[in-house]
Amino acid sequence: MKPARVYRFLVVLLTFCFVGISAAAEQARPTADDPVLEERVLNLSRELRCLVCQNETLADSRAELAVDLRNQVREQMKAGKSDEEIIAFLTARYGDFVLYRPRVRPVTYLLWFGPFILLLAGLVILFRYVKRRRDVIVDTPLSPEQRRQAKALLDTETGKEIA
């Protein structure tokens, strides 16, 4: 095949590829018969961790377990459960780890307040350091003898510069 024909062939092939992908994406979209409910499912799923991939939310993950858990969330919402009840259902099974936002409780105090404690400690250290420096550096006027020495030094320096 001539280069031009190869090129045209590739363009056509690529076009078909993209058409194929977009068609598949259309099919993969879940049938949202209730957009308000779907929105609620999605919002809650963003607060929950996928246990398989761990650094993904339940909303983002494509793991099979994530799909199942999203279905659970959807079903329970349909059954009229509140978000709190659903979170309680999940933490009873998977622990607090399932929550993306760790709860404020004694074991997580260090996590929540640690940075502020460190910041406070840093400020105290900084303040004390600055204060001590200020005490050390005192403006004491030079004695006549020192003034004469300084002048002599300065004169020789400039003398050298000129020479």
Binding site: V52, Q54, L65, D68, L69, R93, Y94, G95
Partner: protein, 173 residues
Amino acid sequence: MRYLIPLVLFLGLIVFLAIGLTRDPHEVPSPLINKPAPTFTLAQLADPSKTFSAEEMRGKVWLLNVWATWCVVCREEHPMLLEIERSGAVPIYGLDSKDKRGDAIAWLRELGDPYVLSVSDFDGRVGIDYGVYGAPETFLIDKNGVIRFKRIGPITPDVWQKEMLPLVKELNK
């Protein structure tokens, strides 16, 4: 003294990081330990007309092993399960998770069946009740139906000898 404080802080950091390295972030501590095992009644894998319920195991120490034919590590774990079964230390019941019946039966025929029986949890609901997030997982359940131990990942000879077998013996006393 000036150099001691940063040094101590640095060493502390190293210790924390070193401990962090030895931990497996995939092992999520289960909130179900020392809680009653969730009840279920499911169809048996070998004969779907029969059911099995966790309630039937009251008064016995038993293992509930979550497995599936799509689970690669389960294949790795399988010989260990057969060995436990042969030793007669504790009965193993299987929770076949999100599987196809034909595949599961063929798997047991090919590799051997360490289970007293397996139940079909094909929609994974019971798995969710047990907080399962990856097979294999194994629960050790005591005579009162309380979960006493959970193994996430395959039971290795080491885990069996050092952690599970001593607990099984103690619970059977």
